[in-house]
């Protein structure tokens, strides 16, 4: 059956059907609609005022690739090198090609430089215990955000944008419910954080674009990006949420956006919300406890007890606080001396 006419220009053949509204559009009209919607998100949410210097978290993947050329403000690309062999080096090559193509300044910050030699591969070796999960995403997520902040400061940015799309937000809300993370549920759902206590304001302009549309946009605009998944991704809990999301999307195409809508409207008890953040006693970054999570994780790694900061209570750290009652004392993972 021949493809229908494009619903907007009525001239070209339709190339795709948008998941949310079901409208059939040709490539050019779709790209125009997509760009208009992203712009609308940014403008309506007043996310990036004019004159802002914006650090774009560029991973080389499709989301950050789509993001970069669309915002008409001063952009700097910041790429983070987590030190994952066989993955990040290839992705960085894609980032360098993109920077050359759009003539944007690129800064690469590496974990090895920022965090005292700890690459993700070293962390993985350190946390690998007998049968326990390596919790790589826990470390990588926290450290990457710290690295992005550092990179942004290096280039003198006033805002940070990342390419999280609607699928990411939907997976996040599913995950947070499954893991019982009421604090994150209470915090999340908005279009980014306004930037409290010295942290740069962050936003996610692609938040309301579903992943399918991002991929199609990258395809129609012939963007060059890197699409293999991280080496450590199969171990992540997010995989369950992602699998569920794909199934839901097959049953109902608008499921992703329905989840984002739900996430925006969750009402949690005030007691569940995290306390107002202060400053980390070591590095001065935003922290809800005496030590920010990045410093706490690094502390544990450096002491040879990588799981120190993971889990309730964070016992053994240099911060005040008695161990919680009712928590059975569990022996930490067998200490593995990190090998470089």
């Amino acid at each position: 059956m021949p493809a229908p006419q494009c619903a907007t220009c009525h001239k070209a053949r339709a190339a795709l059907r948008r998941p949310r509204s079901g409208r059939a559009l040709c490539g050019a009209c779709f790209c125009a609609a997509f760009e208009a919607e992203v712009l609308h998100t940014v403008v309506a949410g007043r996310l990036l005022p004019s004159g802002a210097v914006v650090a774009v978290g560029a991973s080389g993947g499709k989301d950050s690739t789509v993001l970069a050329p669309r915002l008409g403000i001063s952009l700097r690309l910041v790429a983070v090198d987590e030190g994952i062999g066989g993955y990040r080096d290839a992705a960085l090559a894609a980032v360098r090609r993109q920077a050359a193509r759009w003539e944007l300044p690129l800064t690469v910050v590496a974990y090895a430089d920022l965090f005292g030699g700890w690459t993700m591969d070293a962390v993985a070796r350190s946390t690998a215990g007998s049968g326990r999960s390596r919790a790589c995403c826990t470390f990588c997520g926290v450290l990457r955000r710290r690295a992005l902040e550092e990179g942004a400061r290096l280039v003198g940015a006033t805002h940070i944008v990342t390419g999280h799309n609607a699928d990411d937000m939907a997976e996040t809300v599913l995950m947070n419910f499954l893991r019982g993370d009421a604090a994150r549920l209470a915090r999340g759902g908005g279009l980014g954080s306004p930037g409290e206590g010295g942290a740069l304001p962050r936003c996610r302009p692609l938040q309301l674009a579903s992943q399918k549309e991002v991929v199609l946009y990258a395809h129609f605009r012939r963007l060059d990006y890197f699409s293999e998944e991280c080496v450590y991704a199969p171990e992540a809990f997010r995989g369950h949420a992602r699998h569920l999301l794909k199934l839901l999307e097959a049953a109902r195409p608008s499921a992703v956006l329905d989840l984002v809508h739900s996430a925006e409207r969750l009402a949690l008890a005030p007691a569940a919300r995290p306390p107002a953040p202060g400053a980390c006693s070591r590095c001065g970054a935003l922290a809800s406890r005496a030590l920010c999570q990045a410093c706490a994780l690094l502390d544990g790694l450096n002491r040879g007890r990588p799981r120190l900061a993971i889990g309730k209570g964070r016992r053994g750290l240099d911060e005040a606080g008695p161990p919680r009652d009712g928590e059975p004392e569990r022996a930490p993972a067998p200490d593995a001396v990190p090998a470089f």
Binding site: R20, E37, L208, L259, A267
Partner: protein, 488 residues
């Protein structure tokens, strides 16, 4: 790794828990009896301790929330399934105990016959009904069996939210209990209890076992074939199983509430178990009902105003319910539902159920984690704006609308394919007689109407729906209004 902030000492799925239940293991509670069932993570209970634990949970949920006042009429929604059967049994047992611990409300049972929506043959429906009546007669409460077809006869007033009665304070509850006990004492001394609400003596209660004589509809009158066919057509016109399930739930709720209002019940009890509520929470998330999770899965649901829906089984897992029913011979009736034998990917509900149960296998605390998170949800209006008049309510689900023009997600592209600016008839056509009279007549009346007339009532309906109901509406057929009770 499943729970945030928790570190599992043993790996999630690879190895079994280190403590193997041996033959010499005793009940963890009384340390004497031989365990017959394992609850939660390795707690083995003997038969008597399990029964006590189960009953205690039921009473504790009721007692903790203090919503059910003594002498109140409470309608038990019984589907025939294990959870609601267990609930009915708990109420039955609770009413026949010694006076100090006796439950103090006046129960009735309602059972909705959904055979037409599920496509059952009349013989199968009659058979199921007969089994149900047998059990209903054994239980002995006043019962009402209502066919789903009667939803066509509902007056439009069911969609109006009645003024909410102010929730009693702590003192009010205690005062009510004290005065009730005093009345009991007086009546007991006089030796007569002729008022129906205080008809509880020391001996077994004798309830009227048929319909209330004032009710013109007798339970034995079967629905007409035309109504059955209209209902089947309605459900067949819905394109996806997800929307069918949601429609069925909405119709069922409205029907139960109508029965409750007609017969003077102020509370409705549903038998949703912990597992079902966890699944329901995740399903509601995926359907776009994030704003209403506290009402959908909390203990009490007072969005309908005068009748409050409570969920006393919400702390019992399905496993506990199944074991209890098996060990203590609680009767239940199996009737096929809409999604019986449906493939796993057929609807969001089925997907979520399969996902949660599979994840529960791997991470045994999944259901309880989701349940505990659901307890942290509050019934707050949007953006914490508690002041001001209550906003408009959704036509179908009666929750405060969660959409406004500044909405980020809906501003991002069309939510519905209809555009209100397309066709503007000068005066709205008189849709009242056509849409509120029932499905069959809508078909005949609007069938020959011009397209703009047909679209306008639909657009007007859509703008009165919440986000989740709008998405469901998309799956309904174009030439029918969503609900027979649409007010004009």
């Amino acid at each position: 790794m499943c729970q945030v902030g928790e570190d599992y000492a043993e790996p999630a799925s690879e190895e079994p828990p280190p403590r193997q239940p041996g033959r010499e293991q005793k009940c963890v509670k009384c340390k004497e009896g031989l365990p017959v069932v394992v609850i939660r993570a390795g707690d083995a209970f003997c038969r008597d301790c399990f029964k006590a634990f189960y009953i205690h949970k039921f009473r504790a949920v009721l007692g903790k929330n203090r919503l059910i006042f003594p002498g109140e009429k409470v309608l038990l929604a019984w589907s025939g399934g294990p959870s609601s059967s267990s609930m009915v049994w708990q109420v039955l047992e609770g009413l026949s105990r010694e006076s100090a611990k006796r439950l103090r409300f006046v129960p009735g049972i309602v059972c909705i016959d959904e055979g037409a929506a599920c496509g059952l043959s009349p013989e199968a429906r009659a058979k199921a009904l007969a089994e149900m009546k047998l059990i209903l007669q054994t239980v002995g409460f006043p019962w009402h069996v209502v066919a789903l077809e009667e939803v066509f006869d509902l007056p439009p007033s069911v969609l109006r939210c009645f003024a909410q009665e102010p929730v009693g304070t702590e003192g009010a509850y205690k005062a009510a209990v004290d005065s009730f006990l005093q009345q009991q004492h007086v009546l007991g001394a006089e030796g007569a209890g002729d008022s129906p609400s205080l008809a509880q003596g020391e001996e077994q209660l004798s309830w009227p076992c048929t319909q209330d004589p004032q009710n013109p509809q007798s339970p034995d009158r079967p629905p007409t074939a035309a109504q059955t066919e209209a209902l089947s057509r309605l459900f067949d016109s819905v394109k996806t199983l997800t929307a069918k399930e949601e429609l069925l739930q909405a119709l069922r709720t409205h029907l139960i509430l109508h029965v409750a209002r007609t017969h003077g019940y102020s509370k409705v009890m549903t038998g949703d178990s912990c597992t079902r509520l966890a699944i329901k929470l995740m399903t509601s998330l995926a359907l776009g009902r994030g704003a209403f999770l506290a009402w959908d899965t909390g203990f009490s649901d007072e969005r309908h105003g005068d009748v409050v829906v409570v969920r006393p089984m919400r702390e019992h897992t399905l496993k506990e319910v199944a074991f209890y029913n098996h060990l203590f011979a609680v009767p239940s009736v199996f009737t096929p539902a809409l999604d019986t034998k449906a493939p796993e990917k057929a609807s969001i509900h089925r997907l979520m159920e399969a996902f949660m149960l599979r994840l529960q296998d791997q991470f045994p605390s999944t259901v309880s984690t989701v349940y505990r998170t659901s307890e942290k949800l509050v019934k707050a209006p949007r953006d914490g704006c508690a002041a001001g008049p209550p906003g408009p309510r959704c036509l179908l689900c009666m929750c405060a609308l969660d959409i406004d023009t500044a909405d980020s997600a809906t501003a991002f592209g069309a939510q519905t394919p209809l555009h209100l600016s397309q066709t503007q008839p000068p005066t709205p056509p008189p849709t009242a007689p056509c849409c509120s009279a029932g499905m069959g007549r809508v078909q005949g009346c609007c069938g020959g109407a011009r397209p703009c007339e047909r679209e306008d009532p639909r657009a007007r309906v859509i703008e009165q729906l919440c986000y989740g109901c709008r998405v469901n509406m998309k799956d309904l057929g174009l030439h029918r209004a969503a609900d027979p009770g649409v007010p004009g």
